[in-house]
């Protein structure tokens, strides 16, 4: 497990959210915030603490005016996590461990910002047995990480996009920030369509690939691999051409995933060498206002 002192990242949302619970994100709710919205009559907003004397004096109608501010709100962050068989692949650290590290950091960060976090795992089906409703508290992440790590795939089949669709439906409208943590090793054709319910949310895809799956090994020449959860196998004689082709195919896939999310003005966050909270913070800084 990572040192919790460093496993924290900062996330921000573009635009305003709407939530009745005070928190760290800009919202449309009016209340005890610092962002001035307008003046209102004292009679309408009977809060003498916010009486704006200067504005009242200059008011033509001689009304007592109070300042109306926007209140910062908390949001619910959802992590949709792929726990299928292919996520259990990895040389030094399997992809699920990377996902667990992310969840731990997410729980800690969200707890710090006063946001609640929910976990929605899926493999070939939506895993209701593993899902956790939105919770507050800094320890949430640890619990989620443990749940994910101790999970067993329901079948050896690869993750299913229908299952992802179910997960998305269950968080749509409730979460302002949705992380999709997966290796995206399933057909991408319908992805754009099933992301539609999340129109009001920020969707951040965390694409976790192991270094051994995206980079051809260079120690030996003959490689026999079998698709996890299937009998389909490939045998490669690793010539420079084949290596190049492999890397080109990975790049093509990367591009295909990026293209789907580009339509939503989102760049995927690529993880191929362990989870680094700092680079995720940077990701939010650079791509979000």
């Amino acid at each position: 497990m990572m040192n919790t002192a460093t496993a924290e990242f900062v996330y921000r949302l573009p635009g305003n959210t709407s939530s009745s619970r005070p928190g760290a994100h800009r919202s449309n709710s009016r209340g005890a915030g610092m962002n001035f919205v307008s003046h209102a009559k004292l009679i309408d907003q009977p809060d003498p603490r916010r009486l704006d004397l200067r504005a009242s004096v200059s008011n033509i109608q001689k009304d007592w005016l109070v300042r109306v501010n926007k209140q910062r709100a908390s949001i619910t962050v959802s992590a949709i996590v792929d726990v299928s068989q292919s996520m259990r692949f990895g040389a030094d650290q399997n992809k699920l461990q990377v996902a667990a590290e992310f969840l731990e950091a997410l729980g800690f960060s969200a707890g710090g910002l006063g946001d609640s976090v929910s976990l929605v795992p899926f493999d070939s089906v939506k895993r209701d047995d593993l899902s956790m409703p939105a919770r507050f508290g800094r320890g949430t992440g640890q619990t989620m990480a443990e749940v994910v790590l101790s999970s067993k795939p329901i079948s050896p089949a690869s993750a299913n996009i229908d299952a992802l669709s179910r997960c998305i439906e269950s968080v749509a409208g409730k979460s302002a920030l949705v992380f999709i943590v997966s290796d995206f090793h399933w057909p991408l054709a319908d992805l754009a369509r099933i992301l539609e319910p999340l129109a009001g949310s920020l969707v951040v895809p965390l694409v976790i690939w192991d270094r051994t799956e995206i980079k051809p090994p260079d120690s030996k020449r003959l490689l026999s691999v079998r698709q996890m959860g299937s009998k389909h196998s490939r045998h490669l004689w690793l010539t420079p051409t084949v290596r190049q082709q492999w890397e080109a195919n990975v790049e093509k896939r990367r591009q295909a995933i990026a293209d789907v999310f580009a339509a939503r003005d989102v760049k995927p966050f690529w993880i191929s060498n362990g989870f680094d909270p700092e680079s995720l913070s940077r990701y939010f800084m650079e791509t979000r206002v």
């Binding site: 292919s86 692949f89 040389a91 799956e213 020449r221 003959l222 691999v225 079998r226 698709q227 195919n249």
Partner: protein, 332 residues
Amino acid sequence: MSALGFHMPWLLLLLPLALLPLISGKRDEIPFPWTDWLPADVSGQRLHWLWQGLAALTIGLLVIALAGPQSSESLTERIGRGAEISILLDRSASMDGEVKRPILRDYQSIQVQETKNGLARQALSWLLSQRPENRYALTLFSVVPMRIVDFTDDTGFLQAGLDASGIGRGPKETNMGLALLAAIKAFDQRPYTGSRAVLLVSDGGAKLDEETRIKIKEGMQRNQISLYFIYVQSGINTPNFDLVGTDTSSNTEEVELHLFFKNLGIKYQVFQADDVASMGEAVATIDSQENLPLTYYEKNAGIDYSRVLFILALITSAALALIAAVRMETLK
């Protein structure tokens, strides 16, 4: 001609094991999350097939080799020159005696005295070395005939038999009738594949009773055997066959025997040999006369193929090891 047989055929039941490498490649293949982005590679696929094929072949070869394949014994027809000669060598005590020679003239150096048996053996050895393609049988006789070597063209074997006849001393008695019958019997139930001869080497005659005479005559004629009688002269007083006419009645056993042989109605020749030279001459004559083409069957022992299969399995295993050396065991 040579059917294939197995030493332990039930081991072939294990042969389906050879299919194991073809059925499951799971042990060889590394689970991979997304093979779709791996390029399709023909040479890799071929190498994998080769790997599977070699593995199956290796197991198959080992199973077959363990079952012990061997070709069954076979007979090869061979045509050679030479005769089937049944050597009938007198091994009675008298043969251990020394050859009687005429009194030496002044100019003749004293020769080493040789036993008649030794003389006969030397001459026969010479025959063997001259005509190794002949097929010989060796029977020693004294009281009873003793089959030493059945018909064979293995002259080493025969030579050993001849050498063995020189050891020790023989019994006193000589039963030539039984010996002749035994020599004739050796030809019974053998296909007639070439000229046949009985080579009788003895130093004395024998009285044969009427019954034996009839049997010998029948046997000789039935088997178309020619008879060569090498008479090792015992001494100066032994009769000279050359002078014996067919009508001469003689009471010596040798003459009687000679006359009996002469009237058998078969090819018969007598040689009176009293030293190495004359003995050799006799043998040479026989050699030249019994040098007709001869058809005979040679028995080929079954060939054990398992060693070859084991070596092949070793080679395929080495090939497997070569492939294994370049094969990724894990992606880590």
